[in-house]
């Protein structure tokens, strides 16, 4: 068996390669959606999510216990507030944490001040994160559901299969349209 570190180094390399080729190491493309100039992010993200939903269904048919896979907790306040300032930072900084690393590899040195900002902010954050006033941000509501299938009372595999079929058809249609419309580069 491959050592663990090598497995994750290779998976990371594959992810970085795909992200760079998709243009997601280019801060102008990453922020383009917020200026309504470039729609790469809202095209890549749903396609990736739907493809992996299909992939997870295949894994569960192959006998993988996909129910045990990581699922984030629902903390409405933290995720809504955190998401908002994350979005502001994403636009100003031009990157998110993962894409800043891909961008650095592709030679973009402006990823370095972005990373310096992240590291500095962690040091500002660490002493205040345990303050009582911040506790509501990280408290999981007792009745909160972690997943949409739980929230609407559907079997997760049925919902994933439905989304994959409908979303996949929509994306196939959009893909064919984008290929027809594109001038050869």
């Amino acid at each position: 068996m491959m050592p663990d570190w090598l497995t994750w180094l290779l998976i990371g390399t594959a992810l970085g390669f795909v992200l760079e080729n998709g243009g997601l190491a280019n801060p102008r493309k990453l922020t383009g959606v917020f200026l309504l100039r470039d729609f790469t992010v809202p095209q890549v993200m749903p396609t990736a999510i739907l493809t992996a939903m299909g992939g997870m269904l295949v894994l569960s048919l192959l006998g993988f216990d996909t129910g045990k896979a990581f699922t984030p907790d629902t903390m409405y306040l933290g995720q809504a507030f955190g998401g908002f300032i994350f979005g502001v930072g994403f636009y100003l900084g031009g990157y998110c944490p993962g894409t800043s690393m891909v961008a650095l590899g592709s030679g973009r040195l402006d990823a370095l001040p972005f990373m310096a900002g992240m590291i500095a902010a962690w040091h500002a954050w660490d002493p205040i994160r345990k303050l009582d006033v911040l506790r509501p941000f990280f408290t999981k509501a007792p009745d909160a559901r972690d997943t949409i299938p739980e929230l609407v009372g559907l079997d997760p595999r049925v919902l994933a299969a439905g989304l994959f079929a409908l979303g996949g058809a929509a994306i196939l249609w959009l893909y064919r349209r984008s290929v027809r419309g594109a001038a050869p580069a």
């Binding site: 917020f34 992996a52 944490p97 001040p113 590291i119 959009l174 984008s178």
Partner: protein, 150 residues
């Protein structure tokens, strides 16, 4: 669509998305999810406390992201040092932006990779709350700082 500054064109975004989804599926099959912000938080902690353990699967994955970015850029002849580097204004915006991204990812306990994409696949409620808020934040910042990327 914004084209690269030089070298070959980017892949069709739907092709890139499908490829990304396949690699993320492989990483689920290998036992973990896709994440990134945690590595930067751990690295920051390590700077203050050298006893912090950096040997974590996600650290290796994030180092891989850098290698993959280099491979992608070099093979398509897009690799370059100062593309789109806007001088002092760009540096200040990058530092401030990086800081807000770190704070946001700590409040939300995740970022675009570990919360939005991974949680999106798991149909997590929090992931979609985060994504919606992230787009709102990005549009609000773009409305105020419209000329930053012009």
């Amino acid at each position: 669509m914004i084209a690269p500054e030089k070298g070959r064109s980017y892949w069709n975004p739907y092709v890139a998305g499908a490829a990304l989804g396949i690699v993320v599926t492989v990483s689920f099959a290998a036992g973990h999810y896709f994440g990134a912000s945690r590595v930067f938080a751990t690295a920051a902690k390590w700077l203050g406390d050298r006893g912090t353990n950096l040997n974590h699967w996600m650290t290796w994955e994030v180092i891989g992201l850098c290698i993959g970015g280099a491979l992608g850029g070099l093979l398509a002849r897009r690799w370059g040092m100062m593309r789109g580097f806007g001088g002092r204004r760009r540096v200040v915006a990058a530092v401030v932006g990086g800081g807000l991204v770190m704070l946001g990812s700590r409040f939300a306990a995740g970022c675009t990779s570990g919360l939005a994409v991974t949680g999106g696949i798991r149909m997590s409620v929090g992931a979609y709350v985060f994504m919606g808020a992230m787009f709102l934040g990005g549009f609000a910042a773009a409305a105020v700082f419209r000329r930053l990327w012009s």
